[in-house]
Symmetry: C2
């Protein structure tokens, strides 16, 4: 008789939640569906020709180390390069403040692992990045969403006075996933002041920061407080996601704990991929290609916004992000995008329901729209179909 | 004031143990030291020229998918290829029984994550693979070592009657790390019978199986019971470790749980690296190169054994492994290899103390010797130095 898995699962396993996005995407993957659901970079931004050259160079010049096991902390050249790049943005760090991780998802996971006990609270946005929520849940953490920024302090105080002091405040200050919104300087200062006042860690998850179409960059929170901020970065949106390279910048004593956690998680980040990325930065290719990516995505955002203006029925609103990959769309309060999803999928268009990003189950009238992946023609057709689906839902409810 | 990390660490973080090997290796890394300490494959076995061709092919033919995010389960072509290879070894599986992991260390980690609650016991060898012990500890699991194979049942029964039923039996049946020993058919049957009798899962961690110098391969335990065995594999020793590619073969309902755990751990295994490995298998290069690797390592083992015969003082014994990367060396009971390590490092030779592989702190008179990495000349010189260090320790104690 086969073993009964249910009987032996850990409490962690029981508290894990399957990604709603993942299940939705399996429907959205049919070829006839125009999908705004994924968070995929556009493959035309992948630096294929540069990689052809660099990979041959790595195999020619450093195969002995690049194909071998590597240090848990990561490729030292890459750590040096990243340290310099962040020093240029005002961070007071050295390479010893940097751990290379197997994607920024692992950055979230290792951080959760070393800090979260079952029942611990984590303060985050409403909405917030689903992958982070999943990681918190997988360690039986309890994410608590802040409805409005100005309510952060009251939420923190309430948690503390009920004996549920949060382990950290999780933020995505630049072009947040899913909302596309960027925190201004005042908001950043406020978060750091509250963190200091109540002695809390702050996570600054920053996968989209470099993809700014317009307006001025706000300072990194880590540059404003290098004692209680952990900064997560990645090449997934700015170079390519298929290598799974990310990093954590943090005070050295936190890096030290994360290294021990990473030893048992996967020993080291893919060594060859790190060597390629280090050379890519070193040759100045990152900057060269990023400019083109930003131009492409700016055009795509403009086109998406134009299509929204042109086709969306009255009552629908959406964000106008200054960067990143996503629009966030809001329907009138009484509508549920889960219901819309079923209508939309019949029209062969897909999105992600906003509820998936709300740890408290709210946000039922919202959805996330990706604009980086689809070409212009399909984007227009997709927005048409989506508008039609929304109109149909509106009509049905007024009958 | 900086945040006090100690105050906010999770219980998991507090139960993590830093790798003793890692700290020893930092001393062993001085260029004048001949190190038998690491578990590194020989870089001359890395298929550099084949990789040059394959990487260009992947970039030419499938860059759009190979540089993008990929499915959490892994590259389907690679899963198909692995499924076929294991069917050829008698396993009754399909690709749906396979999850590609970011190294076999992650296989151990995800398995620990979905099964181990704080305080749970895991039955393992004395000695056993340190990286597995670290993973068990990091989830507050309690590895219990079996002194002799024939004592497995009594240990399991004792644990069960004390309310500490083990979550699984962790084994490395082929060329065990660190002992180099292989389980024969009777031992495999016994483990499976006990597992069945007491309704336990069995982990068959199998990173070295393909590296057999002589003698006949024993059947995989998974081929003898496909309802309660989880099999872990990797390319780290047979192709290269710098990609971090491993896999888990398990009943589908376990794979399903592992996939959810992997979503929050790192989303997917490096996609480009998987595409390269799939083509490498597809072109028959794995078999072609493996033969050369086996020949090289057989010579290295023979040479190492010859040097041991020639130089080791009386009273020292060692295993004669039929495959793998390691010898396991035993000194008379009264000697401590931690003490020897300090003497040896002065002689500029390094090894790993056996105690590190014993979850109960025993094995103080043992050490692990790697024979895959060093060239012949250095091996002879290293064994000479090591013998000298041992003689010195023997003499000191008889004074």
């Amino acid at each position: 008789m086969a073993i009964n898995i249910q009987n032996i699962l850990s409490d962690n396993a029981k508290s894990m939640r399957r990604s709603a996005i993942r299940d939705l995407l399996s429907v959205a993957n049919r070829p006839e569906v125009i999908s705004f659901a994924g968070g995929f970079p556009n493959p035309s931004t992948f630096p294929v020709e540069d990689l052809k050259v660099i990979m041959q160079e790595v195999l020619e010049a450093e195969s002995t180390s690049a194909l071998q096991y590597g240090p848990t902390e990561g490729n030292n050249k890459l750590r040096e390069i990243l340290a310099q790049r962040y020093r240029d943005q005002g961070l007071d760090i050295t390479m010893h403040n940097i751990l290379i991780t197997t994607s920024s998802q692992q950055a979230i996971d290792l951080t959760s692992r070393i800090f979260i006990n079952p029942g611990d609270t984590i303060v985050c946005g409403l909405p917030s990045y689903l992958g982070a929520l999943q990681s918190f849940w997988s360690y039986q953490g309890q994410p608590i969403g802040i409805p409005k920024d100005e309510e952060l302090e009251v939420v923190v105080k309430t948690l503390i006075s009920s004996g549920k002091k949060p382990k950290f405040i999780y933020t995505i200050p630049d072009f947040q996933n899913p909302s596309g919104i960027t925190m201004n300087l005042e908001q950043r200062k406020m978060v750091l002041e509250i963190a200091k006042k109540y002695d809390l860690l702050v996570i600054e998850d920053s996968p989209y920061r470099e993809i700014r179409f317009e307006g001025e960059a706000q300072p990194l929170m880590y540059s404003m407080d290098n004692e209680r901020v952990m900064l997560f970065g990645t090449i997934s949106k700015t170079m390519l996601p298929g290598f799974r390279i990310g990093w954590i910048i943090a005070p050295v004593e936190i890096i030290d704990r994360l290294v021990v956690a990473k030893q048992s998680a996967d020993l080291c980040t893919p060594v060859f991929d790190q060597a390629v990325v280090a050379r890519y930065f070193e040759k100045g290719l990152f900057e060269k290609n990023l400019g083109k990516t930003i131009d492409l995505y700016r055009n795509k955002r403009n086109h998406m916004l134009n299509c929204f203006e042109k086709y969306m029925p009255k009552g629908v609103t959406w964000t106008k992000p200054e960067g990143g990959l996503f629009l966030f769309v809001t329907l009138p309060q009484e509508y549920d995008t889960r219901e819309l999803f079923d209508v939309a999928i019949k029209e062969n268009v897909a999105f992600v329901i906003g509820e998936a990003f709300h740890c408290d189950g709210s946000g039922k009238n919202t959805m996330r729209i990706n604009f980086s992946f689809m070409d212009e023609q399909k984007t227009e057709e997709g927005v048409k179909r989506l508008s039609k689906a929304i109109e149909r839902m509106f009509e049905k409810s007024t009958k």
